[in-house]
């Protein structure tokens, strides 16, 4: 079993874990929009706030090192691309925006159970289309719930190949193709099993959300986010 899975719920008892998922979803949306629209100093404020939130959630960044490498590569590309097309400040702002959005996404997924994420999405979408809300939230919940299975499969394939003394560096392309083929093969078999299991439990592709209720601490958290956003706007 994968020990820690990036972008997936981790059970813990922090204030952020207990927070209403709708507040977390709204916080992510508000901060992301603000981040995109504002200049470097404001982006730094939002970025700092995201770091505080991540600390509060006890995000185990060091355990995600392997999975997060790809974001550092992307961050580097963003920096170089923006520096080449604009100036240093714009490049730094873009990198702050990118890592803040990744960090906020990580915190949301790490502290919110898939079912709660789906319920929050259902709540947001039901203002526009209740039918679509049921469909989309069910898809989100299932996708999130099965992420650990994907990581487990990849880890299993990797370890099994290592146990048979495979050296990826010897023939990297052949290794990559064969690794992907084996992993996808397993995933397809599992996907078929899961779809049959869902069908046998009368799953119709839609879900009813969990009932959620705002508490005082949720409103307090929303007020803090609103204050930080206002501060970023004023700067």
């Amino acid at each position: 079993m994968a020990e820690a899975v990036v972008f997936h719920y981790r059970e813990a008892d922090t204030a952020l874990h207990r927070l209403d998922p709708r507040i977390k979803l709204l916080t992510l949306l508000v901060l992301t929009v603000t981040l995109v629209l504002l200049p470097l100093r404001s982006a730094a404020v939002i970025g700092g706030y995201a770091c505080v939130i991540a600390l509060g959630a006890g995000l185990p960044i060091s355990r995600f090192r392997r999975e997060l490498r790809v974001f550092f590569v992307l961050g580097t590309f963003i920096f170089l691309g923006r520096y080449a097309s604009s100036d240093l400040f714009e490049a730094i702002r873009s990198v702050i925006q990118f890592f803040t959005v990744v960090l906020l996404g990580l915190v949301l997924m790490d502290t919110t159970a898939p079912e709660d994420c789906a319920s929050a999405l259902h709540w947001a979408l039901s203002f526009f289309s209740p039918a679509a809300a049921g469909r989309f939230s069910a898809r989100l919940m299932l996708t999130l719930a099965f992420i650990p299975m994907i990581f487990d499969s990849v880890a299993e394939v990797r370890e099994a190949r290592k146990a048979r003394s495979e050296k990826p560096s010897r023939r990297p392309l052949r290794f990559l193709l064969s690794f992907l083929e084996q992993t996808f093969d397993i995933m397809l078999v599992k996907a078929e099993e899961i779809s049959l299991a869902l069908e046998s439990r009368a799953f119709t592709g839609s879900m009813k959300p969990k009932s959620l209720r705002f508490r005082l601490c949720d409103l307090a958290a929303a007020a803090v986010t609103a204050s930080v956003t206002a501060a970023a706007l004023l700067i």
Binding site: M1, Y9, E11, A113, P114, E115, D116, M141, L142, A145, P148, M149, K190, E193, I194, L196, A197, L198, E199, S200, R201, A202, F203, T204, M207, K208
Partner: protein, 238 residues
């Protein structure tokens, strides 16, 4: 009249491989029918056809006011809820059962399968035996007339097998009709009413365990030599 009647059931995969070939049998109310056979003999395909997940190539399946609940071999494929109680409620929510009834039924099934203390626990953190009990609970809560279990002892340690076997025997004593697919006859055969052995998609033997088990070796199912009588074929202390 039989609860379930299967006549000349056939199933062919798209690559032309025949998984079931003219399979005919019936199941009576309250019966525990153990289905066994070597790998690829068609046991799992048979259960999936009965559940309606695979469309048979031929033959008929007649139910008498019957629904089948299927427990899959791999519990991880079946568990979708974020807590034990939420997972058990999943099927009922899909059937649009009123919330109050869902709560009552979920609690009742959790009590029956000793899962109450795990109600809020995340399914991923359960042991193998507990996960298997959870998958049985998730199906049982939908109140099926027939409970079909696909290799319920697979990958379980000794305590895990005991946990699951105890519950299967309890369900049989409560009058549930059970179809149990396994190749580990020594764990459960003492509790069976009938044994069905399958070989290459066909029924090789069907009848009381004493009679049908004589064909076990020929069908690729091993019965430990030290277990001379059918009564010994259980892992429960009697």
């Amino acid at each position: 009249m039989a609860l379930l009647e299967v006549k000349d059931l056939s199933f062919r995969f798209s690559n032309g491989h025949t998984a079931l070939d003219s399979v005919s049998f019936s199941v009576e109310q309250g019966e525990l029918l153990v289905i066994s056979g070597k790998n690829g003999s068609g046991k799992t395909v048979l259960l999936r056809c009965l559940k309606g997940l695979y469309r048979p190539s031929g033959g008929s399946i007649n139910f008498r006011d019957t629904s089948i609940g299927l427990v899959f071999q791999d519990p991880d494929s079946q568990i979708v809820g974020q807590s034990v109680e939420r997972d058990i409620a999943f099927g009922l929510e899909n059937l649009s059962v009123p919330p109050k009834e869902i709560t009552e039924k979920t609690l009742s099934v959790m009590e029956a399968l000793n899962l109450v203390s795990h109600a809020k626990q995340r399914p991923r953190t359960l042991s193998g035996g507990e996960k298997r009990r959870l998958t049985i609970a998730g199906v049982l809560v939908m109140d099926p007339s027939i409970l079909a279990l696909d290799e319920p002892f697979a990958n379980l340690d000794y305590p895990g097998v005991l946990q699951v076997l105890e519950k299967i025997v309890m369900l049989k004593q409560e009058g549930h009709t059970i179809l149990l697919v396994t190749h580990e006859l020594d764990k459960v055969l003492a509790h069976a009413d009938r044994l069905m052995l399958m070989d290459s998609g066909k029924i090789a033997a069907l009848g009381p365990p004493q009679e049908a088990s004589k064909a076990a070796e020929a069908c690729g199912v091993r019965i430990p030599a030290d277990l001379m009588s059918i009564e010994d074929m259980t892992w429960l202390k009697r």
